[in-house]
Symmetry: C2
Subunit: 431 residues, 2 copies
Amino acid sequence: MAGPTYQALPGFRDFIPRECAIRNYLFDTWRSVARRCGYVEYESPVLEDTALYLKKSGGELSAQLFRFEDQGGRDVTLRPEVTASLARLVAEHQRHFPKPLKWFEIGQCFRYEKPQKGRGREFHQFNVDIIGEGGPNADAELISLAIESMLAFGFVAGDFVVRVSDRQAWIDFAKKYGVGEESVPEFLNIVDKVEREKPEELDKKLAAFGLTAELVKGFIADPANASEAYEAILENLTARGLGDFVELDLSIVRGLAYYTGVVFEVFDSKKSMRAVAGGGRYDTLVATISDGSVDLPATGFAMGDYVIRNLIEETTHANMQMEAWLQRNAANCEIYLVVADEEKRPEALKLLTDLRRAGICADLPINSMKVGKQFQMAGKVGARFALVVGGEYPELKLKVLSSRSEESGQVDNAVEWLTARLQEPDGPLLA
Amino acid sequence: MAGPTYQALPGFRDFIPRECAIRNYLFDTWRSVARRCGYVEYESPVLEDTALYLKKSGGELSAQLFRFEDQGGRDVTLRPEVTASLARLVAEHQRHFPKPLKWFEIGQCFRYEKPQKGRGREFHQFNVDIIGEGGPNADAELISLAIESMLAFGFVAGDFVVRVSDRQAWIDFAKKYGVGEESVPEFLNIVDKVEREKPEELDKKLAAFGLTAELVKGFIADPANASEAYEAILENLTARGLGDFVELDLSIVRGLAYYTGVVFEVFDSKKSMRAVAGGGRYDTLVATISDGSVDLPATGFAMGDYVIRNLIEETTHANMQMEAWLQRNAANCEIYLVVADEEKRPEALKLLTDLRRAGICADLPINSMKVGKQFQMAGKVGARFALVVGGEYPELKLKVLSSRSEESGQVDNAVEWLTARLQEPDGPLLA
């Protein structure tokens, strides 16, 4: 017998139920933590005019785009990220909203990369931005959400750290050591790779600017080089009780050209020092995208679904929290109706409808099935209870599947009885 | 001053916060009604191998595809619908799940059509399927969810009707009147348009099969032509208390070639008789997609976000329910902290963190702001309460924004106090 003919495209995921439930756990957690921190949700289109990304990047397009011509001859691209779209939306709609905008989006992005562990050609991203408020207090407000997100997933102190830097410190450095303004982007690219570059390569590149590796590394190592913004952010986060999650790391400059000031990354501090999230201040992007018609300072970060999921699964306490959520939210139903007497199917269907209407997740075998097999099905679909509709009707038997104990009730008040019962533990209640 | 330079592509929507909240209302309602009826969520990829859609449609591709060649030279297509992907997923993964599969997906689909009111080039679709169970009880279980979805949106009897038909009745008709088996799809296409076609055109087309419009319309009009499956579905739904929502309508055959039996559409019965949802049985698709390696009967329906949203907004009681949901779920925050004394910002930040950590949606002005302006902001961001942190600290004043009344409490038990307070009505409590 031949296997299935078709498969998902390389780097694209099939979210079969458990995978989809894990995705929903990430989305629910992101959404609830952002909501309680005062952010509202938006979503930009999955497909955009390629010119938008060209504008954002200053003319250089990534080689990793899903880019094509649509039937109307438009040059279009599946979004590789959402910040360009956000800047477009903000430029168009900002006048209808009080400032600052605190907006978040949970959306899928697409990049044509080599698929590997921890990276696909599609991924989901949690994007959070504060627009219309400059200054370190806005950065601190944003960073506090990055930290709260990690705590919401069950991570604790010691699991992760937020490394904060400031491009301004490097811009000042460049000025002091005579690096021309036009060369600053190239210089920042060297700083970005200072820990990974081969020593002789690094020396060569820095020599071109009249600098040495010793000088640059010395600058990174000296806490006195923290910017004023960094000190203000630390003070703000310390007042919130979050100071211990933050440290200065001037080696972080973030690759993208559009960042203008404070930048930060959330790192897994236990294992491979992977970046779980990253972001920073981009005060000129809205003006760039809108050709200067709207000028608003902005700061934002993004967290992808691949790394956070792997980190959760590798971290016992975070994983236990996720598994508990999955157990509550990924089963087919809570109560499985066992139709012990097929004559009573109409009554079972009515009861099923009443339970569902009351918000209880309930199901029953669609066609006639042996009673033993129905109990097996109840287990297979993850139900907590089997509710037997049979010869004793209107009396109903409720079997607790974990303990095999039995209780009974009447169909007339089944909704009230079972609604209350579902709030209680599964096993026989203690006296 | 020039306006914003870029806009969304034609037919693509910017989900700015209110639009996104409405989208979330639809998604939440769909998700919760499907969950309580025993369905689990999955999601198929947004991008698929074009060959998958070619296979599903038997070689004829829609002209409305977003189809292109990816960087690896693959012929790929943004999904125009999800059933082809579902069949692929089921063929690959079904052996790990008890049958029937009751699966749903909420996902975005893409079709290159002329954008107009009620139709874009992207739309969200709620897709629900029961796979691995043939027979009318499975169709009834599926149709009951279509009805429960409408009820969950606040629609009531008289707002909508489910029109059920059965292709089998037409296949029997074709056989009886000598229409060859190979001509049945063409014949069904004529039936599909019987109400809309010009009389002389209809006569001409039917004459080619030796049939008349009178004969076909007479068949549609006679309730005695209901199939056995229809009668069984009606009986099943009647037992659930849902019989009144269903009627026989043999003029419905559904355009797509892959339907094999019972088909149905949910209609707006008040206004324009728009179809809100539609679906039916497709017992051969999984075998087709898997080249016969997996053979499972299936039935499913889809509901799009455009029509249901318009219908909600046009229907007073459904719209009131949505607006109430939006009021609870679309505000920036519930409690806005007013920092009446800037010296107390650190204390306000600590309190803010505690409230958020307890699940309360709370916010504060990011930078120093006049007290009067802070109260205005509290209103603008949709807060119910303003919580004043000022000279009286650790005493806190709580202003109810709707009634302008004031209460007070202590910072030490602020979380308990405000958690309880948020459960109560806004206004001054009655004695």
